[in-house]
């Protein structure tokens, strides 16, 4: 079965510093990986995805993620954190196909807190 793990419940970083939110995956076959962000009382917003190609994927709001096959990781990064980046971040892997359905399997989430 496909799965992702987020080893950190919370990440604290000072504004302006680089941030990393970790994710490791376990899949059979090629991984289709995603990062979503959730603000309080809001839905999940898509940040970026890895399907194939370059290992460094660029996404929304200045975020990027590095796919590392040997380490089975897909860490989310940003060179300079903003206070407004404080939110709950979910790593997800596509599970499928099943009659054209590709449900997402989510990690447990990592709360990012950026202090001024």
């Amino acid at each position: 079965a496909q799965s992702v793990a987020q080893p950190e419940d919370q990440v604290n970083v000072a504004e302006g510093n680089p941030l990393t939110v970790k994710c490791t995956y376990s899949v059979s076959g090629n991984p289709y990986l995603f990062w979503y962000v959730q603000y309080p009382n809001r839905g999940l917003q898509f940040l970026l995805k890895y399907i194939t190609g370059d290992n460094l994927v660029k996404g929304s709001y200045g975020f990027e993620a590095e796919f590392n096959k040997s380490q089975t990781s897909f860490h989310l990064k940003k060179p300079s954190a903003l206070v407004s980046d404080s939110a709950l971040y979910f790593c997800a892997v596509r599970d499928g196909p099943m009659d054209s359905s590709y449900k997402l399997i989510f990690g447990s989430g990592t709360r990012l807190l950026v202090r001024p």
């Binding site: 289709y32 995603f34 979503y36 009382n41 809001r42 839905g43 999940l44 917003q45 898509f46 995805k49 399907i51 979910f90 599970d95 499928g96 196909p97 099943m98 009659d99 054209s100 359905s101 590709y102 449900k103 997402l104 399997i105 989510f106 990690g107 447990s108 989430g109």
Partner: protein, 114 residues
């Protein structure tokens, strides 16, 4: 740009009552997914529809049912509600079965069962 619409946004029901949650996908999206997020939990897949047919089923209780209509909107029907059904219910939509495409999530319906 149009987003996924969910209604109602908040719903309070008593135990053993029924509830219906509605989802309107992004125009031209043909696949709808339902997820349940309990307090402090990650979203868990419930059920999905592709071109109005059920395409996959996850950890959805037998008390729940869902369907996708001809206009592609979807409804999640929940009966004999239990306290443990209190959660945030998300609908997501994608295009062409969503093989490599991201899912776009609605704002969610917060269901509280008392």
């Amino acid at each position: 740009a149009a987003g996924v619409i969910q209604s109602p946004r908040h719903l309070i029901k008593e135990k053993r009552e029924t509830a219906t949650l509605k989802c309107y996908p992004i125009p031209r999206h043909d696949t709808v997914y339902w997820y349940q997020q309990g307090p402090g939990q990650d979203p868990q897949f419930l059920i999905s529809f592709y071109e109005k047919m059920q395409s996959d089923k996850g950890s959805i209780p037998d008390r729940f049912s869902a369907q996708q209509f001809s206009d592609y909107h979807s409804e999640l029907n929940m009966s004999s509600l239990e306290l443990g059904d209190s959660a945030l219910y998300f609908c997501a939509s994608s295009l062409n079965g969503g093989s490599a495409r991201e899912q776009y999530f609605g704002p969610g319906t917060r269901l509280t069962v008392t």
